[in-house]
Symmetry: C2
Subunit: 135 residues, 2 copies
DNA sequence: CAGCATCCTATTGGATACTG
DNA sequence: CAGTATCCAATAGGATGCTG
């Protein structure tokens, strides 16, 4: 994934410890908050799932993106890949302890959304109506 | 921003309450975890900042993306825009209560990263070396 | 200063087809 | 089943130039 942004100034100042030393943490952030990364991580919170299982579970996701996302997350040590070498190959994916700990703040973000998404939508409507009247 | 994904199946199952009813919350998630959204939200945690202030603070960010991100977040009700109508116009941006509450789980995610990014990097190196040896 | 409009390129990501 | 490879469309996003 891409890294090449040098937004390191905001780092020490606003984001506290995160992002320090350039954008080391930025890559990790991009991986786990990526479009599909969250869904995959979330889908694995309840236990190991096979490749095809994930494919049906996350209905809109193409095989390409699934395998690509899994590869990234496995490389990051957040997800474990377990192969059962049989003639119909069975491959399971599960959260590592690291991945499990990562999924917790992620879950609280998800929780925030489930609580406040209505507020956001209300704000959007309010904003749009104000535009229509006030210009 | 884009919405058009129908990954609603994972919703009720793995992500708990989030993502329910299609992908309502997904949009919000995309906004606040977007490449620049996080940086802007983080940059505002310490208090109101002017447009140009944000521009220098988040060094790699173009004016286009800054204004675009701000507009989105203002519309979402997470950021407030305050205009001081003087001949050199002064516009400040600050977190709304909603935005402030959103920035908290975001911050815990950032904290997780600052704690564990080294682990991730170690995992990556380990993974790459294993590849080099094992194939 | 605080933006918006335009152009143009890079990246993301879906569809399809093929392999062990 | 569990992927990989290729092609192609949509989007993100940077550079530039212009407004109030």
């Amino acid at each position: 994934m891409q890294v090449g942004v040098q937004a390191d100034v905001v780092a020490a100042d606003a984001a506290g410890d995160a992002f320090n030393g350039g954008c080391r943490g930025r890559v990790v952030f991009d991986h786990i908050t990526s479009r599909w990364g969250v869904l995959v991580l979330a889908a694995l919170r309840s236990g190991p799932v096979r490749f095809s299982g994930l494919h049906v579970k996350i209905s809109g996701m193409s095989e390409k993106m699934l395998s690509q996302t899994l590869r990234t997350l496995v490389r990051d040590g957040l997800i474990a890949r377990t192969v059962d070498a049989s003639t119909p190959p069975k491959v399971s994916y599960s959260l590592t302890p690291l991945g499990s700990s990562a999924s917790e703040p992620l879950q609280s973000l998800l929780d925030w959304i489930s609580v406040h998404s209505a507020d956001v939508e209300r704000a959007q409507r309010h904003h749009d109506e104000a535009l229509a009247v006030d210009g």
